[in-house]
């Protein structure tokens, strides 16, 4: 796989198709950047509502990443290291949010965790806690859609690990906790890091599940993507400015992931 022979010739039609694909990815970016009101940029990005959205996005995306780590790392280890009935089913379940339209995920969360939901109703009666329309709700929505990125990345890394080191540690008398802490996790640490970064990026970009489950309120649930959507309705320069900000963040993520998630040969 790694050492493939250099392809001598590629059918010319492929170059054409590849060029189209590149163009299709590039043209929207050019459209966005070409519309950036550079002079007004500081004013637009310094707007209190925009700063609110940035703050909220930081809170929700980091919150979702932490929650995904707490929930996702054990799941990845269990999926990779133990066999149990229904393991394939669980793996499919993990992948579901990747292929499910986020707005469906948001509606499902509403019916499950809302005030009248199967889990939300008893929670509300017991504690008075209401998750929809709250920042906590926005964190939960982002966690739902971004969790697979962490689980899939870490599980793949664990599956690719040479089991001999863990076996050696076991023969030397290490317990399962020690092996996990001292051998397994350090070996997959780079993958955990890139998984966390991907998770964070997905959480930052989350829109559909958030607006459906958590609603849209400045300062509470209106994250950057929602702010872009609202700005598109009445203030296009602001929408473009926010869009540029998110593109820059996305490029930063790709730079941080270079060589790990995509090869720089």
């Amino acid at each position: 796989m790694r050492r493939r022979p250099r392809p001598l010739t590629v059918p010319r039609v492929l170059h054409l198709a590849a060029g189209l694909a590149v163009g299709y990815l590039l043209v929207p970016l050019v459209g966005l950047v070409g519309n950036v009101p550079w002079r007004e940029l500081p004013r637009l990005l310094g707007d209190p509502l925009v700063l609110d959205a940035m703050r909220l996005s930081a809170i929700t995306s980091i919150g979702a990443t932490v929650l995904a780590a707490v929930l996702g790392l054990p799941l990845a280890v269990v999926l990779a290291r133990s066999s149990f009935p229904g393991r394939r089913l669980v793996r499919g379940l993990v992948l579901l949010p990747l292929v499910l339209p986020p707005v469906v995920g948001g509606a499902a969360l509403l019916f499950a965790l809302g005030r009248g939901g199967i889990l939300g109703a008893p929670l509300y009666r017991a504690t008075g806690l209401v998750l929809p329309f709250s920042t906590a709700g926005a964190v939960l929505a982002a966690t739902f859609v971004s969790l697979p990125f962490l689980v899939v990345t870490v599980e793949a890394a664990l599956a690719g690990l040479d089991p001999r080191r863990e076996l050696a540690a076991a023969t030397l008398g290490a317990g399962s906790w020690t092996i996990l802490r001292r051998v397994t996790l350090p070996a997959v640490a780079p993958s955990v890091a890139s998984g966390l970064l991907l998770t964070w990026a997905r959480a930052l970009g989350e829109f559909g599940a958030t607006i459906t489950f958590a609603g849209n309120l400045p300062g509470r649930t209106r994250t950057l993507p929602l702010a872009v959507f609202v700005a598109l309705e009445h203030d296009r320069p602001k929408a473009v400015a926010l869009g540029l900000l998110l593109v820059v963040v996305a490029l930063g993520v790709l730079v941080a992931l270079r060589g790990r998630w995509w090869r720089t040969s």
Binding site: L20, F133, I211, G215, V230
Partner: protein, 254 residues
């Protein structure tokens, strides 16, 4: 191997800049059965009424396929400004299209229906809301439309006039999204249109007369839009006796 490559033909889509344009163009191209398509952008609150108008219009014009593009009026407006090939635009208020009127983006336009804001509550009114003043209760989850969209603008006008200070928990971008959250019982109350109530699983607490809760819907033929002659016929049908009957049945006023 290489033969099959050569035989494969690449599709070369023409690129147009804003994605919305491509999307609406795709929508418009969907009626590929020889019928002429007529794209009508209509405010979300018109969804049910215009669905019926679409059916009735198509029954009279079997060679025409009406495509309804429903959404918040502000979104629809931006789509048209971005060059979406829309023939008719029905907005939930005049304010959204004031510059369309001033700058001649409408070939012709007319106020064709009216609506009124009302307090929407989940079925059975579990929070026991009796007046607009109740919406200020801090223990309630109240939703409004965002101030950028027509239903949000009227809502704020009404609340200002009544001197009621509401802290909404969400600002939805079209009235249907607000209705959905009322139906789910996640909101205790929200200011929606009177016409939203019958079709949804929600109840209403009417606003007292005297509050500026009335809105006017505007419909117009987009200047230079596709099928402008047919667009004119659609608008005339909306305003015909049959069109008016459909609108009335869905609770719209004249």
């Amino acid at each position: 191997m290489s033969r099959s490559w050569r035989r494969a033909r690449t599709a070369r889509p023409r690129l147009r800049s804003p994605g919305i344009v491509v999307l609406v163009a795709l929508l418009a191209a969907c009626g590929g059965d020889g019928r002429t398509t007529l794209t009508v952008s209509a405010a979300a609150s018109l969804a049910d009424a215009f669905g019926e108008i679409e059916t009735a219009f198509e029954a009279r014009h079997p060679d025409v396929d009406v495509i309804l593009n429903l959404g918040g009026s502000a979104t629809l407006r931006e789509q048209i400004l971005a060059g979406a090939p829309v023939s008719v635009f029905a907005s939930a208020d005049l304010e959204t299209v004031s510059d369309f009127v001033e700058e001649g983006r409408f070939e012709r336009w007319v106020v064709f229906a009216s609506n009124r804001l009302t307090i929407g509550v989940p079925a059975g009114n579990p929070a026991g809301i009796t007046s607009l003043r109740d919406l200020a209760r801090p223990d309630l989850a109240v939703g409004l439309c965002a101030p950028e969209v027509p239903c949000g603008r009227v809502a704020r006008r009404v609340l200002d006039a009544a001197g009621v200070d509401v802290r909404p928990v969400t600002e939805e971008l079209d009235v249907r999204a607000l209705v959905t959250k009322l139906e789910a019982g996640e909101l205790d109350a929200g200011l929606v249109y009177r016409t939203d109530v019958p079709a949804a699983a929600i109840d209403e607490v009417p606003l007292p007369t005297g509050l500026p809760a009335d809105t006017e819907y505007v419909i117009g033929v987009i200047s230079g839009g596709p099928e402008s002659e047919l667009a004119g016929r659609f608008v005339r049908f909306v305003r015909s006796r049959d069109g008016e009957r459909i609108l009335e049945r869905h609770g719209f006023g004249r």
